[in-house]
Symmetry: C2
Subunit: 551 residues, 2 copies
Amino acid sequence: MKVVIIGGVAGGMSAATRLRRLDEDAEIIVFDKGPYVSFANCGLPFYLSGEISNHADLVVQTPEKLQQRFKLDVRPNHEVTQILPDSHEVIVCYAGQLTRESYDRLILAPGAQPIMPDLPGIVGAKNIYALRSIPDLDQIMTGIQAESTQRVLVVGGGFIGLEVAENLVLSGLKVTVVEQAPHVLPPLDTEMAAFVEAELARNGVRVITGQAVASFEDAGTVAVLADGTRLTTDLTIMAVGVRPASQLAKAAGLRLGFHDGIVVDQQYQTSESDIYAVGDAIVVQQQVTNKPTLIPLASPANRQGRQVADNIVGLPHPNRGSLGTAIVRAFKLTAAATGLSEYQAQQAGLTYRVVHVRGGSHAGYFPGSTPLTLKLVFNPDSGEIYGAQGVGEQGVDKRIDILATAIKGDLTIDDLPELELTYAPPFGSAKDPVNMLGYVAMNVAEGLSKTIQWHQLPAALAAGRQVLDVRDTDELADGEFKRARNIPLNQLRQRLTELDSTQPYVVSCFSGQRSYIAERLLRQHGFDVVNLDGAFALYHAVRPQDLIYQR
Amino acid sequence: MKVVIIGGVAGGMSAATRLRRLDEDAEIIVFDKGPYVSFANCGLPFYLSGEISNHADLVVQTPEKLQQRFKLDVRPNHEVTQILPDSHEVIVCYAGQLTRESYDRLILAPGAQPIMPDLPGIVGAKNIYALRSIPDLDQIMTGIQAESTQRVLVVGGGFIGLEVAENLVLSGLKVTVVEQAPHVLPPLDTEMAAFVEAELARNGVRVITGQAVASFEDAGTVAVLADGTRLTTDLTIMAVGVRPASQLAKAAGLRLGFHDGIVVDQQYQTSESDIYAVGDAIVVQQQVTNKPTLIPLASPANRQGRQVADNIVGLPHPNRGSLGTAIVRAFKLTAAATGLSEYQAQQAGLTYRVVHVRGGSHAGYFPGSTPLTLKLVFNPDSGEIYGAQGVGEQGVDKRIDILATAIKGDLTIDDLPELELTYAPPFGSAKDPVNMLGYVAMNVAEGLSKTIQWHQLPAALAAGRQVLDVRDTDELADGEFKRARNIPLNQLRQRLTELDSTQPYVVSCFSGQRSYIAERLLRQHGFDVVNLDGAFALYHAVRPQDLIYQR
C-alpha cells in the first residue's frame, strides 16, 4: 500500500507514524510545503518573549529522524499543487519543478491558514504579519528586534492574539489589541472575558473592543479603525482567525461544507474514495449541538490523524466528533472554556440557565490559595451540561478538564456534586468549586434559588427591586451598588423588621454564597427576593463603572 | 421539627446548615464532644511544620457565628452518651451533668476514631499520640516543641502518616515511619508507592516497611518491631488508620455492617426510623465493585451531610455510593489514587490489565515541565476503568480528577483519547498523559501490544527472553538490565540482522514509548517480542537493586 500524506504537522504526522506502527511494509510519503514538519505550532508565541528560548525546541522531529525511526519519506518544501482523484495521483512542485506521485490512499492534513482580510493598504505593507509557521515567526522576530520597533498592534483578541500580545509585552514592547467582537476571547462570555481584559490593562496592554481595522496607511505604519481612530504601529500581527486550507481539495472536486471545511465521513473519508482528510481543515460534529463546525485545535487533529491510520488499515476507530476545549494564559490569569458558551447556547436556541461560582484554587486555610470563577451553562430541565468557562490564577485548567470530561461522560448537574476529586489542603477543597457548580445549578433547577444575572440587574432595579447587600460593612469600601441597603448576613435574622416586606429585593454579597443563604432566609419569611448570581465580585469585574466607591 | 445532630464537623455541620437553608423553622441542636466544631481536620498535619501558621485558621466556624448566621444551637463539649430510639431522646453529658434531649429526627455524624492498637507498653506512655482533633494537635505541638524531642516515630505510612512525617521533617525533626504493609500508601500499588518511598528517603525519612510495632518499652521511648528491631523515639504518632465511631449506634441497637460501620439505606436512614447517619462512620457502596466498604474522607462526608438534610425535608437526593479518591503531598512529589488499585482488583477477582504511562506535566518544549507516571487498571474486554494512580511533581491532582470523573461517567479506555483537555504549552500537551493512557490501554486490549509488568520480568528472563534495550547508548549510564542487548531504536530497522530471530525478546526503553515502536517493528518482522510496560523508568523506581550501573 502506498500512502501519500499532504501536511506534516499534527494530524498528518500522527497519521504517518501510526500507520508505520500498524504496517511495516506500507510506502509512506509526507509532503509539506514548508521547510519544517512536526513543529510545535502552539509554542510559537512563546518564542517571541524568549520564554521558549531555544529555536530547536520548536522542531519536534526532523525528516532524517522520521526516516530512521519510522521509515517515512518526508519531503519538506514540496507543495502539492493538484490532486488527480481519477488517476490516483498528485502533482508536486519542488524547487520549481513539477512531478507526479501516485497513491493508493491519500490523506489530506493541510491545516488552516490565517485569515488576512483584504484591507486597503495591507498589500505592500512590509510590517504586517500572521503567525502560523516557523518562517512567520522568524520574520516577526527580525521585525521586533529592530530598534525602531516600539509599538505593536495585534489585530484580533482571540486565544492566539492574546498569547502574542502577552509575549510581546514580556519582550518589552508597547502593545495594542483590537478586537472586532464586543470583548476579547469571543469563545467566552462577556463577564468572563472581563477578568482577562482587566488583567491585560493591568499589564499595560491597550485593548480596543467592538472595533475593526478598516485600513492601513503610510506603508502599514498607521491602522485606521472603523470609527476613524488612527493607531500608529511599527509592526502589526493579524490574528483574526483561521480558515480551512481547503483550496486544493476544492479544486479536486472534493465536497466542502461548513465555512469551506472538507466534508468527511466517520472514517475520515472525503467525497472521493481513497482520499481522506483530518485536522483543522475538516468539518466536525460539535458534540453538544451535534451540528457541523470547525474546531482548529491540536488535540482533535492529533487524534484524528491516528484514527485515520487505524481506519485505513481496517481497525475501525470512527470520528466521534469534537467538543472544543481551549485555554490561554494572560499574564497571571488563566482563562479556559469547553463546550458551548452562553452566547452559543442562545444562538442555538437551547433552553439554558447559567450559574457562576467563585471558589479557591485549594483550601482557603492553606497558604497560596487564589480565587477562580467558574461558569456553567446547562439545561435546567434535563440537567445536561452545555459548557463551562473559568478564569483565575491557578487551577482553571484542572476544573475545565474535569468539566470537559463530565460533558464527554454525559454527566448532568446532579452528578457534579458526586464527583470525588483529589482533596488535601494543598490541592483542593472538600467541596471543590466543581462540586459547588453542581450544587448551585441544582438549587436553580430545583427552584430553591431564583437568580438574576449581572446584565439583568439594571432592569430589575428599574422594575423596583432594591439591592440588599449582605456583606459585612467593612467590605463596602471595595465598592457598592447604587441605592443598596446593607445588612450583614450574620445580623439579618435579628434585623428583619428593618426591611419592608412589600419591597422586592435582589440580594448580593461578595461571591453569591452568603446572598444565597440570605435569599433562603428571606423567602421563608415571605419576602419577594432574588439572588444576584456571581454577586458583587462578578458585577465588579464586568461593570465597575456602575458601582460607587465612596459613601 | 426538632433535629438533633451528633457531631459538628464535616457531615454533621453540612447537614445542619443545609437543613437551616431548607427549613427556617426547624429546631436544630448540634452536640459535639470536643471543644471545636467545624474545624479543618485535613489541615492539622500542616500546622506541625508551621506551613499553616495561624491556629485560628484551623477553625472554620464558631458556635457563635453558626448561631448568628444559621440559628443553630451548637453545643461543644457535650458528649451524647446514649440514644433512646423508642422515646426519641438522647442522653447528653456536659460538665459532668447528664441531661435528656428529645428529637424528631436524629442525625449521627460521629466520624471515625484513630485505631490505637493495644500494644504492650502503650498504656501509660506519655509520648504516644494520635492526630485527629485540635486538642490532639495542641498536645503534639507541646511535645515536639520540647527541646528533648529530636526523634519522632510515625507508626503507619498511609496518607495521614506521610503528611505527619513530612511536616515533622520540615519542622526539623528526625523521622522514622514504620508501615506494616509491604510499602507505604497501601491504597497505591507497590511500584507507584516506590516513587514516594524514594522521595521520603531523599528527604531523610527512614522508612521501614513490612514491619509492625510489637511493643513499647521504657515509658514509650523505645518501640520494638516484630523482628526485634528497637527504635528509640522521643515522641510517637500512631497513624495506623481509623475505625467508625459507631459505639453509640451499636449500644442503641442500630444495625452495623462492614467493619462495624453504621448501615444506612439510600436516604441515610439507619435501621431505626427517624435516626440517620452520615460521614466516616457509615458503610457505603464502592462504586466500582458495588460492594460495601468504608471511605473515611471529607468529600463524601460533606456531600452526605447535605443530602441527608435534603432527604429529611423531602427533597429526594439518594446516596449513590462513593468512589474513594485520595491524594498526598510528600515533599516535592504528589501521589494520588482513585477507584481500585491493581491489588484491590485482584482481590475482588476481577479480570483486569494495567498500563503505565510516563508523560510531562505540560508540553516538554515549554519550560518547567516535570515527569509524572500514571497507572490505569481496567477491564480489557469491556474497557471499563477500575481505577487509576499517579505520582509526580506537578499535575497529578488534575489527571486523577479527570480519571475520577471518567469513572463516574462510565467512560471506557476507548473514551480517554477522545477527551479534549485544555491544551496550551504552559498547561498540557496535545496528547495529554490521560489521552495516552487510553491509547496504550487500547493497544493492549486490541492486541496490538503485548506487555509484561515489572514484576514479571525475572520470570520472563528465566524463561529465556532477552532484554532488548532500545534506548540511545548514552542513556545506559543511568543503569542497565542484566544481560541486555542495546540497539537504539533509530538504528533498529537497519540492524535487524544482528538479532537472532529464534530468540524471544522483551523490549524496553526509558518510558515504554520507544520500546512499543520497537515491539511493533519486530513483531511485523516475525520476532517473538513483548514490551516491558513502564520500561526502565518504572523498573528503576521499584527495583533499582536489580540493575547494573557500570558496564
